[in-house]
């Protein structure tokens, strides 16, 4: 008989703390959840795991436009936050695919989109964090100012921890001005080596681009470089000059929103492998992708390989991961298809991660067994 999934939705941080304390003292296991937009990422939770939804923690506590900071509860949908900030010409410079789920879910998965190139990821934009640990304690680190080195930086530790250390209840965020306008330089080629040379030519120049992506699908690739600011179109045209010797066709697109929406969308699929490599590894990543489309944050060396639905999907995914080795490759969408969605980390590092888990969640309350190395 399948276990009945229970859930609870606390309406305040205090209530969340009391609930978690009670659950963990009873030996329950907990899965924190926002809008479940990335529910299938990571391993399966134990039968009977209680879902603690952050839907009741939905306040934008403060937005200080003059300081470019905001304090936001975990359950606030990212799209709502962006709409709120946009009224002041600001945004949280994170643009993950879909609508982005909740802020808490975004922090817990450290998901990102094309803006990562310029603004960094979740870890770089969270300036303070409040979490509830399994003993019900409410701990805070960082603060609400963009520069601060007092105490340990738990915001980074919890970013990308997939709910396995505790419940993220609130974050303080650094914001950025929305660009006055944007323009995108597009360069196309069918040769991965030419594409890679174009990427390297670009990343050697101080372009200050917002995004620098590669897209590869059906034997053809494009380099996409997005500029923001009043002079964006001129800068895009100017940047094209750096590609003069590169045997690529170039074009500057002013109405570029759909290009980037497509890049974001291609980070999702029936199965998605995210791989950590270097910019110079791009040809190898493209070769390993097979029929999958590739979205690469090309100057960062991080790529998403998205596979369409097929009968032999699991085999294709595993063959690609095999071909990508020794680069670390995690399966995000479609994690259930494979035996182990997470790559095997270095044993020494894993031992240290286990020690971190054991200290923060000694009762093994938060999503045991679902994370890297079976943590």
């Amino acid at each position: 008989m399948p276990a009945k999934r229970a859930m609870t939705t606390p309406n305040s941080i205090e209530e969340a703390a009391a609930t978690i304390k009670e659950l963990s003292s009873q030996g329950a296991t907990i899965r924190p959840a926002g809008q479940d937009s990335r529910k299938d990422w990571g391993g399966d939770d134990a039968a009977g795991t209680v879902t603690v939804h952050t839907g009741g923690l939905n306040r934008i506590v403060a937005h200080n436009p003059g300081d470019f900071t905001a304090i936001v509860q975990a359950g606030v949908p990212l799209a709502d936050l962006q709409r709120h900030l946009g009224r002041e010409g600001q945004w949280l410079a994170l643009d993950p695919p879909d609508r982005g789920g909740t802020v808490g879910g975004l922090v817990a998965t450290a998901d990102s989109g094309p803006a990562r190139h310029r603004y960094g990821g979740v870890r770089d934009l969270v300036i303070g964090i409040t979490v509830v640990l399994s003993d019900g304690s409410v701990a805070r680190s960082g603060g609400t100012v963009i520069k601060n080195v007092a105490g340990y930086d738990l915001g980074k530790l919890f970013a990308g921890s997939y709910g396995t250390l505790g419940l993220v209840t609130q974050v303080a965020l650094r914001l950025h001005p929305l660009p006055a306008r944007t323009a995108t330089l597009v360069a196309g080629t069918e040769d991965p080596a030419v594409l890679t040379r174009a990427v390297l030519a670009m990343s050697r120049h101080p372009l200050e681009a917002m995004s620098l992506d590669v897209s590869w699908r059906k034997d053809a690739g494009r380099l996409l470089v997005r500029f923001g600011g009043v002079t964006a179109p001129e800068r895009a045209a100017h940047a094209a000059k750096h590609l003069a010797d590169n045997a690529v066709d170039t074009d500057v697109v002013l109405d570029d929103e759909s290009i980037w929406a497509a890049q974001r969308a291609a980070q999702r699929g029936a199965a998605v492998v995210k791989v950590s490599a270097l910019p110079t590894d791009l040809p190898a990543v493209i070769a390993a992708a097979g029929a999958a489309t590739v979205v690469s944050r090309a100057a960062l060396g991080v790529s998403w390989l998205s596979f369409p639905e097929s009968d032999d999907l699991a085999d294709r995914v595993e063959a690609t991961r095999e071909a990508l080795s020794p680069h670390q490759a995690a399966v995000l969408d479609g994690a259930r298809l494979v035996d182990a969605p997470w790559p095997e980390p270095d044993p020494g590092t894993l031992a240290l991660m286990r020690r971190v888990k054991a200290r923060f969640d000694p009762t093994g309350t938060f999503r045991p067994g679902t994370y890297v190395g079976g943590i």
Binding site: A47, V145, V149, T280, Q328, P343, L352, G364, G373
Partner: protein
Amino acid sequence: MDGRELVERLRRVVGDRWLLLDEHDLRTYESDGLLQYQQVPRLAVLPGTAEEVRACVEICAQEKVPWVARGAGSGLSGGALPVKDGVLIVLSRLTRILEIDLDNGRVCVEPGVTNAAVSAAVGPDFFYPPDPSSQIVCTIGGNVAENSGGAHCFKYGFTTNYVTGLEVVLPDGELVTIGGKELDPPGYDLLGAFVGSEGTLGVATKIWLRVVPVPEATRTLVAFFDSTRQAGEAVSAIVQAGIVPGAIEMMDATTIKATEAMAHAGYPVGRGAALLVELDGAEAECDAQFAEVTTICAAQGSDDVRVSRDEAERQLFWKTRKAAFPAMGRISPNYFVQDGVVPRTTLPDVLVRIDELAAEYGLTVANVFHAGDGNLHPLVCFDAAVEGQAAQAEELAGRILDVCLEAGGSITGEHGVGVDKRKHMAKMFGEDDLAAFQRLRCAFDPDGRANPGKVMPTPRLCGEVPGVYRQHPLEAAGIAERF
């Protein structure tokens, strides 16, 4: 404990020459950049390789001796202050640049490499952005430990935004690699936790850093205002306009006077505030924004805006800013450098409050700061020869931090907590927060041997590592159904 065994074992690792036992030799290391704290260590070792560092740490673990890592000793919070019965591990011999890979924007260095040496190694086309004023001497290992920043951090970010990987000797003597040359390794962001941990989680023996292309254009100006309030409002207006300058530095009247006497840049002594604004980036964008900044400064009341005409003049503007600390020595026999942070919009009010406090104590406080990110460096002037004045000045420096906290800020923006600010930690963090910090520390260093007595306000022990690590507990199902 019989110390001879410890000494002999360490000698076998580093050799006679790099083992210091003599009180006279050890005095070199009794303080870091914060001279009011002094402590001679029991002994010091200067290992020459990562493996020697590892072996030294392991011996300390086995002999149950605490240790402190030290880079250049330029820290300003007493972070590298030795412990009395402990070993000081000096990393100044680990100065090799191990790899430069500009195609991928990476360098890999040993911890004793200086900050300035990294930019020199990747120049002239690339540079390493975090630029503490101490960059000629301070080490990358120290920068990692302190999460150091500098004038250009408002735009470019801090050390933590540039470290992609570390090789670390854990306090039990094990060598682990966290992160690496590639970004986003799956698993906990131990890198983020280690950077800024002030030498309390282990010793970094190898560091991978991201480097970036040198900007195409740089434009620098200095604008003079009647008051710091006006200058502060100009800063807010610039940032509100969506402009992200490479640097915005402010000096108050006292600082202008002191630095002019030393740097002779022709600054108008008597003006209330000087604002140094540097824009860098793409030529076209830079020019467009520079015009806007000039207009904003004028609109906020500056009738004297000087634009650097060439690199020499730009260097002069910076020399004047960087002379601020040493110049203070000319107007006051002694001074404390405070390091606090406030939300940028509160700057004008906080500066007024600091002036009031200075008047209350009858002491001079000069202000020089990274205005973009609200990081204040009030210089509290005093005369140690006057009975009780040092204590008064220290109290005033502490009151300034209270003002920063009341404004919603922090007790340190870049110098770290070290020993100096332990006493202020409990004002910023509650008991549950500190307990969470301790969990991290215990995960890395359960026996408390790495830089003990730093960061945390009171000494704490780690409990036993909790029992068997539990995976899928089957009994949870039944209990869960009650909800």
